[in-house]
Symmetry: C2
Subunit: 459 residues, 2 copies
Amino acid sequence: MTALIEPRVLKGFRDFLPAAEIERRGLVERIEAVFRGFGYAPIDTPALEYTEILLGKGGGETEKQVYRFSDHGGRDVALRFDLTVPFARFAAEHRASLTFPFKRYHIAKVWRGENTQRGRYREFTQCDFDCIGSDGVAADFEILMMMKEALAAAGAGGLTIRLNHRGLFNRFLQTIGAAAKAVEILRAVDKLAKIGRDETLKLLAAELDQKRAELIVNYVETKGSWDETLDALATAAGGDNPDSERLRTLRGFMFDAGVQDVFVIDPSITRGLDYYTGIVFETFLDNMPSIGSVCSGGRYDNLSGLYSKEPLSGVGSSIGLDRLIAALEALGMAANRETYAELAVICVDEGQSGAYQRIAQKFRSEGIPTEVFFEAKKQGVQFALAEKKGVRWALIPAARLGQGGAKEAEDDTVTLRDLRTRRNIEALSVSAAIAFIRNQKILKEERICKDETGTRVSD
Amino acid sequence: MTALIEPRVLKGFRDFLPAAEIERRGLVERIEAVFRGFGYAPIDTPALEYTEILLGKGGGETEKQVYRFSDHGGRDVALRFDLTVPFARFAAEHRASLTFPFKRYHIAKVWRGENTQRGRYREFTQCDFDCIGSDGVAADFEILMMMKEALAAAGAGGLTIRLNHRGLFNRFLQTIGAAAKAVEILRAVDKLAKIGRDETLKLLAAELDQKRAELIVNYVETKGSWDETLDALATAAGGDNPDSERLRTLRGFMFDAGVQDVFVIDPSITRGLDYYTGIVFETFLDNMPSIGSVCSGGRYDNLSGLYSKEPLSGVGSSIGLDRLIAALEALGMAANRETYAELAVICVDEGQSGAYQRIAQKFRSEGIPTEVFFEAKKQGVQFALAEKKGVRWALIPAARLGQGGAKEAEDDTVTLRDLRTRRNIEALSVSAAIAFIRNQKILKEERICKDETGTRVSD
């Protein structure tokens, strides 16, 4: 006999067993429904691309992490490490075929050979949505609305979206004569939450001087109402200007749509280095702010600069799915089931397996997912198996069932068992059993709706 | 200025633009709904695995095609080339955590560096469903039922599932004293449809002799009703035996479930070499048999033999998504739209973009996907844009709209335009417009239902 190979996955990679995958799919489907509801269309791009496409001019950390190799034809290829670079390439390549403004989402795996000791995965899912080809503030607002709706659909409770404008910050730096050091300043400001005020001041003073360091920290720590903060930021930038006007328009849209309470203006939000040029934003869960931003992005003015001379501006955002799932789990809001089935057909007689499938098909066609059990084990064992999987109902067919087409099945008699209450409802026709489960589902949905409005507590 | 990088994908790889991706997603979602309806749960595994896991003892063609490289830690890794091998590894690794019989589906990309001149892709999606840990004929039947239902849901019209039993064929080979050459014989028989009777006879005669070559070709060309064929095959295998009995039981299940017409027994179906041990099957579209099998599989008795001493038997099938999409397109049955949006909110005044989103949100929350337009171009231009994307309805908001929460929005007056008939319905409240579109959708669904029963032709 040949030696066995140890079954194992690579470090930083994961299998998803049914409960985890059902949870992940459910989250993605709820988010995707929101994207589709806004008229955003899905696209997909290859996992593998030319390395020169993905790395462009090359870039420190990324280059070290990318999975890169030579393919059968000797091409220098790599696995995508994000969805932004492939989208930039996609937009440049297909520009003539796209309808602008082009609104797309892309939910797919990406790969980075990161240090797994920091709790990072080497394979993970990104969830990006962007609107390109529109410079308007209406596009900025739409992306913000989508973030609010998608995270509400995710089911993690209340949230706060913090936003800022990179152009406004740049104007302020110009006003204090520090624009030349913008990159270093952004890098230092980005660390404020982590290293604290004093250390940030030291970093800034080393680049500039104590006075301007304090001006910058004061700027990013500006507090107050939206209007007060915006007035202060505009003043620091030398008075009202197109960027502060844009934020005022955006604020007006929020009131017009009745969503003003979710959004906070926060000058400490800067989002990294040189990609964004307009608004930037991060999203925090009210129930778990410590987990960090679960949805971030901003406006950029030249998406495809590496591949095309024609600039393409846009605004986009990305949901941190893994982080969001971790939050849902920590908050006890994750579903926990191994199957979509709501009903299990108990096996009384293995020779009736064909008839069981015929009966099950009637439930399935009425929107009730139904698993058929194959082995005529003791009923208690079968009930326990169904319960373990998270199935709510069991159907115990009569010993003798009709044969053939749909007509005879009407005469089949079944017993329906509620596995939660352990109560049997006997001598039902199949259609009565379907009606019973459907009614229970409607009642449950009504209960959930009432929960959400706070009227009544669920069972 | 830096030189531009040419935006392009690797040969054999594809971008999916919205229309193609919406079509692909729609197909996958319809199929997935069937899998879930049968109580099959999704799983996922890493794209990248240890090469020794994927290649096992190594295997000719596959080894040459696999994308294999050394990762940052010097590990010999490869991209998965199918979903069966990762599933075998998964089942061995997680055996203790799984509930048996374990019913799973897995829809994911795989990669093979194939010769693209044969019209093959190097990145494509596989769509596998298996039930492992049950030896019963009920499991075989369930997989066959799922194939029928999944392909019906795919919407490619009538289909025929052809099946055979590998054990029965092996018994026949033993009866004629040709079992020792089983591998070579299977390889020759597999080519019958391609190279014809005479060439197959030559191949077989070279391995055996003319007489047995003819016996084999006659065997695989056995024709007649299910019962006649099965009787003939059993006789050729030396009389009734557990394999022929199993096929009789399976046939009984088909009648019990009323699905007997879809299935044909066909001894020419053999499905490659040494993996399958029980039933094997292929599926052909009645409208397009020439495209070949769109769903194939069979029963195996030792899934995880490379990784575990405990045998794990099962039965499974795989849908050829790319082939199915090609068939739907060729049959003119593919959807062709760039968006999920059913309604476009026309931009009359860019300063009202916040109010437009508030109105759009009311449609979205009633299940009507709604895109908001950003620029106050001429209405005709906006109508044309919506039509181009495949949007059915346009909403023209009044010049003045309410501000703020849900209450004021009730007073908004809108005009609804049917972009298909170019007819306007004026002076509607938002809720009346929602009701109007919903009613039209219900009417449309009823029309589609009537089509399927053949009562009435759709518009």
